[in-house]
């Protein structure tokens, strides 16, 4: 036993010590996380890419007033956020579309009661390259473009060039909203290009002359793009998406933006929701390019 020190050199001892610390550390962490989920000082918000800019600006202003609360925001798409709410991996879900029946059933199976709160409005804007001579577009034409019935700008009264149709990925709320309200629940044509983010649609439309794409109102400030006014049907006037036309619903592709909670919001979740709906929060909504509730 006198020589026992030799068998355990310093490095081995150190490793063992680290291992023990690690195990205890992990145990400690998991213990702390389980305490009082309602009173914890952090909120995770996941979901709509359209709303990421809005949510992060709101959260920044909120954290300045309530420094004890940490808010972390991730995008990924409304579908991603709703799935995360159902899977229990986020506190709040930001979504630019409402939950589908199927998702509600899944949530019920997992004992999640999704409560929906509208915090702002948004218009979906149809964008093309500035050199494109097209003046306006009707809902019917949009449907034909995205379901693949139209393949050439000629069919829309434009020059003889094939259409390059751009859409968001299927995890996007804008994708599903567009499918529901513009395509009347029909399927997108397989030739439609699915872009990973709204900014890549803007980027691609400004680079490729004969592209058409859709993005949220907040994305029209950047890029070399032209916003196309939309007609409800062939005879109605072409409406440009603006604050007023979205709010009074004369613009055809307007939608509410939601926050979803698991159960009636309480604790910090409620304080945050109240802040978003307060005049101060609604002012941020307007400043970031979305449309306030009133």
């Amino acid at each position: 036993m006198k020589n026992s020190k030799k068998y355990f050199p310093a490095t081995i001892k150190l490793t063992a010590l680290l291992l023990i610390l690690f195990v205890f550390g992990v145990a400690g962490c998991s213990k702390r996380d389980k305490q009082n989920p309602q009173n914890k000082k952090s909120i995770t918000i996941k979901g709509s890419d359209t709303m990421v800019h809005l949510m992060s600006t709101l959260a920044e202003a909120f954290m300045k007033k309530n420094p004890e609360v940490m808010i972390s925001i991730t995008g990924g798409g409304s579908g991603t956020g709703i799935a995360a709410l159902i899977n229990g991996t986020t506190d709040v879900c930001a979504s630019s579309r409402d939950m589908q029946q199927k998702e509600k059933e899944l949530a019920k199976e997992k004992n999640i009661l999704a409560i929906e709160k509208t915090i702002a409005y948004d218009g979906i804007v149809i964008i093309v390259h500035p050199d494109n001579p097209i003046k306006d577009i009707s809902m019917e034409q949009l449907k034909k473009i995205y379901t693949g019935a139209y393949k050439n700008w000629k069919e829309l009264g434009g020059p003889d060039h094939p259409l390059n149709v751009l859409s968001r990925e299927s995890n996007s709320g804008t994708y599903v909203f567009f499918q529901e309200h513009v395509l009347n629940k029909e399927n997108y044509a397989p030739t439609v290009k699915l872009m990973p983010a709204s900014s890549s649609i803007v980027q691609s439309v400004s680079a490729d002359k004969w592209s058409i794409g859709y993005v949220g109102l907040g994305y029209t400030k950047e890029g070399n793009i032209k916003v196309i006014p939309v007609k409800k049907n062939d005879t109605s006037p072409a409406i440009i998406p603006t604050h007023d036309t979205v709010l009074d619903k004369t613009y055809s592709i307007a939608r509410p933006l939601f926050l979803y909670f698991n159960g009636e919001p309480a604790g910090n979740n409620k304080i945050f929701l109240d802040y978003a709906l307060s005049p101060e929060g609604q002012k941020i909504v307007e400043e970031t390019g979305y449309i306030a509730l009133k």
């Binding site: 990924g76 799935a83 499918q179 397989p190 890549s200 004969w210 592209s211």
Partner: protein, 293 residues
């Protein structure tokens, strides 16, 4: 010294478990994929996977045909390999046979840097630089095509092909070269007719490994191929690869849904593809004695 023996035994087992860790991890991953994907066979049935339409989000009927995704991956991989082979092999020949030692010292680190560029950076470069270039060059509607993705992936495969081919060429015995030169063959003839054929097995293996890298690459292809799930072998159309589909859609799915399981099937197909590519290259290398038995 019993304690000494015990100690060495413990260390031996520790090292052994470290060594077999990767095997265990691969097996566990495969089992996990199968476990998550399996219920799909019961409902809606494995036949659903062999349809021609991938349309997982629909108000009518969701369709999980993975054929367009497979053809997308195959098209991009083949194109990328075709682009990468000449550059990779000629580069390897140059570095090992023609370049002066000084040049070699200069070139090799750059190849390593090319291998180390994060794929998202490469993807961004592709979106802003390569896509408009390809659009102009071929006078097509958009630069977001299978070809654009293939060019970017070729950038990733070239370092792999180059460095392994270079090893293969270096391991060709110098007597071959000397004999060829002594018989009056020129340097160029010696390289193409003697050295390269002698190193061919290693070169083939390097191409296979490069392909394995290309098949599994995600971020760069997702950013530049347009992601339209159409069945096409035309390099100027948009395609959707298996990797991009998993990356783009995994986040949105509810655990246990049909869409979730379909994505796991895509993952299994992908794993089998990369696994067989790696196996083939391993076999080739082993057969010609480039890996110790």
């Amino acid at each position: 010294m019993n304690k000494q023996r015990l100690k060495s035994k413990i260390i031996k087992y520790f090292l052994q478990s470290c060594g077999s860790l990767s095997i265990i991890i691969v097996l566990l991953i495969f089992l996990f994929l199968l476990k998550e994907a399996f219920p799909f066979i019961v409902s809606p049935g494995i036949n659903e996977l062999f349809h021609n339409v991938w349309n997982p989000v629909s108000f009518q009927k969701e369709e999980f045909g993975i054929i367009p995704l497979i053809t997308g991956s195959v098209l991009v991989t083949i194109l990328a390999t075709l682009i990468a082979i000449p550059f990779g092999i000629i580069g390897a020949v140059y570095i090992s046979e023609v370049a002066s030692p000084k040049e070699r010292e200069f070139l090799k680190p750059f190849i390593e840097i090319l291998a180390g560029i994060p794929s998202v950076v490469l993807g961004f470069f592709g979106l802003v630089v390569i896509a408009p270039l390809i659009k102009q060059l071929f006078d097509i509607n958009t630069g977001l095509t299978a070809l654009t993705g293939a060019v970017l992936l070729a950038f990733m495969a070239i370092p792999t092909i180059m460095s392994i081919s270079e090893d293969a060429i270096k391991s060709v015995p110098t007597i071959y070269k000397e004999a060829s030169l002594a018989l009056g063959a020129s340097k160029l003839e010696t390289i193409w007719k003697v050295i390269v054929p002698a190193a061919l097995s290693g070169i083939v293996a390097s191409v296979m490994l490069g392909m394995g890298r290309v098949v599994g690459e995600t971020m760069a292809v997702m950013m530049v191929t347009g992601n339209a799930p159409v069945i096409s072998m035309n390099p100027f159309t948009s395609v959707r690869t298996m990797t991009a589909t998993i990356a783009a859609e995994m986040g949105e799915v509810t655990i246990g849904s049909e869409h979730y399981m379909a994505l796991f099937w895509v993952g299994i197909v992908l794993l089998i593809m990369t696994f067989s590519l790696n196996m083939i290259s391993y076999r080739v290398l082993k057969k010609y004695g480039m890996i110790d038995k």
